[in-house]
């Protein structure tokens, strides 16, 4: 039968084959998660597993990395076997970022870096100027830079110009759970930068918002607070995994185009079709 050709198994394979490629490395999961704010390290690790994430971010700004005083927890995170993505959370200037990046590279033996340069302390908004400056220097030093940026097309282009191969625009400010606040800008980014891996980073509060980002064609989603602060982080991690998969396969399947009016998908049989459009008016 015709529909057999498009069974769930086929479509699953279709999507599974299409891996996420970042800096030449392939990943099956399109959900990246953070490792902060969990009730305990044990719950963090269980949540990471449940999320299916293969890339996890971690911060070492405040843990006196030069003395390796956080070694115990870093080793615990490392045991997950995921690609580590050290971040520069808490840095405000390119100089701070570069010092921390070098330290991260040494400690975690990876040149992957989530670049954060904070421009405002209250909403932790990225500083686009500092970001571009830091990215340029980090790329020169051989880092694989994944910048956390705003949804501004020009800023994103400049980041690509200085050598970033992946961009991570925000959905909303960090930790707010507001979802995709400026869909117009995000849609613009997706359309204008069709070949650049775009990861929605920050602001995702609910699985539906993650699914929405994936439906819009973004390549992946990065989040932390929404899982870590859930009443049951492990179950929430699983929910996000399912949402990201659903959103991705929905995007691949091709969403229907929204219509202007609600219309029954089969004609109402007892009414001539030329009267159906006015039937609602008659009922009123």
């Amino acid at each position: 039968m015709w529909w057999r050709r498009w069974s769930v198994d086929d479509s699953k394979r279709l999507i599974m084959n299409e891996q996420l490629n970042l800096y030449g490395k392939n990943f099956n999961s399109r959900l990246l998660v953070g490792t902060a704010l969990y009730p305990s390290p044990a719950i963090m690790r269980e949540s990471v597993e449940a999320s299916g994430a293969e890339i996890i971010t971690l911060s070492l700004r405040r843990q006196s990395p030069e003395q390796q005083q956080g070694k115990m927890i870093w080793d615990y995170i490392r045991e997950s076997g995921c690609q580590l993505l050290p971040n520069t959370a808490g840095c405000r200037t390119p100089r701070e970022v570069i010092a921390l990046a070098e330290m991260s590279r040494e400690i975690f033996q990876t040149d992957w870096l989530k670049l954060e340069v904070i421009g405002d302390d209250y909403n932790l908004q990225p500083d686009p100027y500092g970001l571009i400056e830091a990215a340029r220097e980090l790329v020169k030093r051989g880092f694989k830079v994944l910048p956390y940026c705003t949804d501004d097309l020009v800023v994103c282009r400049r980041l690509l110009d200085v050598g970033c191969e992946v961009l991570m625009p925000w959905g909303a400010p960090i930790g707010t759970g507001q979802g995709l606040l400026n869909k117009y800008n995000l849609q613009t980014l997706r359309e204008r930068l069709p070949d650049v891996p775009l990861i929605i980073d920050a602001g995702i509060g609910a699985p539906s918002q993650a699914a929405e980002a994936m439906e819009m064609g973004f390549d992946a989603v990065l989040l932390n607070t929404a899982i870590a602060k859930a009443q049951n982080p492990v179950v929430m991690a699983q929910s996000f995994r399912l949402a990201v998969e659903a959103g991705r396969s929905a995007h691949a399947a091709g969403l229907m185009v929204k219509r202007q009016t609600a219309s029954p998908s089969t004609p109402t049989l007892d009414m001539p079709f030329w009267q159906q459009s006015s039937s609602k008016a008659l009922q009123d």
Binding site: S40, P41, R45, S64, Q69, M72, K229, Q231
Partner: protein, 359 residues
Amino acid sequence: MPVTSEIKPSVAIAGGGLIGRLLAWRLSLQQFDVTLYEAGDLSTPGGACWAAAGMISPLSELVHSEAEIYRLGVQSLALWPSWAEQLEQQSGRQVQFRHAGSLLVAHAQDKSELLQFQRELQGKLNDDISAHVQALDGEQLRQLEPALENFEQGLYLRDEGDINNRRLLPVLLSVLRQQDVALRERTPVSCSGYQVEHQEGRVRFDCVIDCRGLGAQQQIQGLRGVRGEVLVVQTREVELQRPVRLLHPRYKLYAVPRPDGRTVIGATEIESEDMSPISVRSTMELSSALYSLHPAFAEARIVETRVHCRPATMDNMPYIHSEPGLVRVNGLHRHGYLLAPALAEKVEKLVTKQVLQVA
């Protein structure tokens, strides 16, 4: 079963922090022959218990932890009043246990934090929270705490309490002296079944209790330190009656009033075993959060800073392990004063059972 005075069973306690002192006190009351070992000085304890603020807040902590912490906390909260009274009678000095509840406040722009707190509490408690939590408007808030002029909403957790740890720990020490507990200071030890080992050799006991905190890291897999930083400020301008927590999207701040116009402000929670002095960033975070609690705190004097690492397991739950001749208790994390009495009772039972079985 009473233990007769002729054959006093011997118990060694390693670690003179809060739980070690409480156990030494409880067990010596039961006529055990108790020896307390401490790597540092007992009169100026270096442990997390000395750096802490002494809050006993099962509900506020429940939001960040497992239901078991709450259950143990409620048990402890039931024990503290009589234990405090008993210690005050024995020593003739006050330990300042206060059962005046605690307040949670948030600024108008962060008021969703209060809602989130209530929701989390509801989810964890699986019970009607209105019996424990009272939502307050600005006026009701100021009836309890006149100083909180800048807040229009808050939550009152009337069951919670706190204890002045800087009074309690010396009082415990003096009571231990009264009860002829053998005190071995500046004596780092290692513990195994029936045996304590230190520089001068091995000593046998009927039972050994290891409560050395991070000192036991080699013996307890996955035990880690979580750095905490605390400020103590002093001012006559702001007077609080009870612990106040400020809810903020990123910073956790509590302010615990102590005598002489002092307020203990805490605490950071950093995944690091770094014991170096408080950082500038943490000082700024704590003091700006404090300033937002009341602007008059700006002229308070920072009279002390405290840094220590809390001993914690990977699931942040307390650790009790028992084998013949040895009980280990550890991992009280940020819940020392909240959990210690309940855990001390548990350990007391384990030890009594062990020693009686041997006898």
